[in-house]
Symmetry: C2
Subunit: 313 residues, 2 copies
């Protein structure tokens, strides 16, 4: 019997997005940024992360993303050898070296591993990484114009008694199942429900409904999104009422406008939920107003941290 040879290095046959990553003191092309198959961040999804976007050469509300990331680390008993200001420098370098004026930037920490493959998480060395890739959005330009078509799936979002949703995490099999359910119904993305059958969130986004001129968004078991929080801030400014609590599918479908929020895309209009249409094929007035103000906020130093780029990029 003949046996295959052991290759002395791996030849990667795939194409990867452009971008710059940071690992263990090194800045790398995105295609070189890899995690060991044995890292518990992969094998047990034992990891936390946060994503911030860069728009027009500035981070948007970076402080809030750092708050959430460092809080998640603590809740997971993880430590990294960098403080907030060092993480900020690393993220800034990733963006500066990429040259992107608009970028999607992620910081993450995995449980890591140990040389003897110990199953005890206390014996693992935690690993911090970061990367900047071109800005991406949940909704493409066409969907931004006409609104997303969403289907409600009966998949239940992983409940807080199982995984604390304030720890931003990679447990997405529920959301992915919801997506496939939505695709089967001819929709473009999904909302999944909480343990009581109320609307929770979608793959990477929170949801708002405008009902009788006031905004409503789910609270139980959802990620406390930074874009969601920014909508709260804007509502205060606009003197719009916003309530946080249970949103049933019927209540959502009975609203005047529906939009979703994410660091990847901002404020994104919804045109249909299941077979209920909103706004005659274009975003509603409140959605549009909030979206406009959201992007105006990106110009203000209170919320935007400008990045210095190399002059030769």
């Amino acid at each position: 019997m003949t046996f295959p040879k052991i290759s002395q290095s791996y030849t990667d046959p795939y194409d990867y997005p452009q971008g710059i990553a940071f690992q263990d003191g090194q800045y790398l092309m995105m295609r070189d940024a890899k995690v060991s198959v044995l890292d518990w961040g992969f094998l047990h999804s034992d990891a936390t992360y946060d994503t911030v976007h860069v728009w027009d050469g500035g981070f948007f509300r970076l402080d809030l993303h750092l708050d959430r990331f460092f809080a998640g680390l603590q809740k997971l008993n993880m430590t990294i050898p960098f403080d907030r200001s060092e993480v900020t420098d690393i993220l800034t370098n990733c963006v500066a070296l990429s040259g992107y004026q608009n970028a999607y930037v992620e910081m993450l920490c995995t449980r890591g591993g140990s040389p003897n493959f110990s199953r005890d998480p206390r014996e693992a060395v935690n690993r911090f990484m970061a990367f900047a890739v071109p800005y991406g959005s949940v909704a493409n330009p066409d969907q931004m114009k006409r609104g997303l078509r969403i289907a409600i799936s009966d998949v239940v979002r992983i409940p807080p008694k199982s995984v604390d949703p304030s720890i931003k995490n990679y447990h997405w099999l529920d959301l992915v199942r919801g997506l496939y359910d939505a695709f089967e119904k001819g929709a473009e993305t999904a909302l999944i429900v909480d343990t009581n059958g109320n609307i929770a969130e979608g793959p990477g986004f929170n949801v708002f409904v405008v009902n009788n001129g006031a905004l409503h968004t789910p609270e139980f078991g959802v990620l406390p999104g930074i874009t969601r929080r920014t909508v709260f801030d804007l509502c205060r400014k606009l003197d719009l009422k916003v309530s946080v609590g249970d949103v049933s599918p019927e209540f959502l479908k009975g609203g005047e406008e529906v939009f979703i929020t994410s660091t990847a895309g901002g404020i994104m209009p919804v045109s249909t939920v299941d077979d209920v249409a909103f706004g005659n094929g274009k975003p509603g007035p409140i959605t549009t107003r909030i979206k406009t103000l959201y992007w105006e906020m990106h110009k203000h130093p209170e919320w935007a941290t400008q990045i210095e780029y190399p002059t030769d990029v």
Copy 2:
């Protein structure tokens, strides 16, 4: 302002376990087996896997592990370019090239990714990998002799309405939280509960209690483990009653013997659950009997698939 340089390749500062991996037609040293940081199998834990062990140069019940793995692929809408016999060849090669007579062998498939970082899982190219590392056990030799000390955590196992537990998956943050709860209580590992407060499972294992001479094991929301199933087979042979259904913490603590089951360790005795002790510091008679028969099964061609090793390893 000066900027850091971009490294043309990554210098990995960590030590990894020994072993052999397979990726994209290549057999690799374990330290070279890596996943892109952008793979949805990492960023969304959108992946399934199975682990089989090799004992005395033979796979144990490989057919059942392959059944579960291929069923999981189908449920997740994933495809791999290999059939059962080709996956068997790959796993066999990983073990043969490692030279291990006792090994922990994993096959896995991630959603993969796409060159444009598309968030649509249908646009990703799924990626199959496999690896063989030295045999590992949930319980170390000392714990095997005296029994594991377990604490029950009130963390709720991710429910089936969120993630189908028959799809073997990497969503472990609930189990990891349970582990840290157990460590805080001075225990060595954890059992977490189901949505009704009954016992579910622990990190990587199912649990059995012997009560009035009959065996009981949880059913709702647990992984249908192959070792668990092997215990059912042995109970039939031994004419022992085994019932599958709700196991309350009180019922578990009221039993004569408790043991856990996993591909990583087989049949492992439990000495304490919270502050309740079992069996006077040594494994109970039924646990011992099942454990002995379990390892005897490894010698029979009905359950063991012998591996041919290179003669020069």
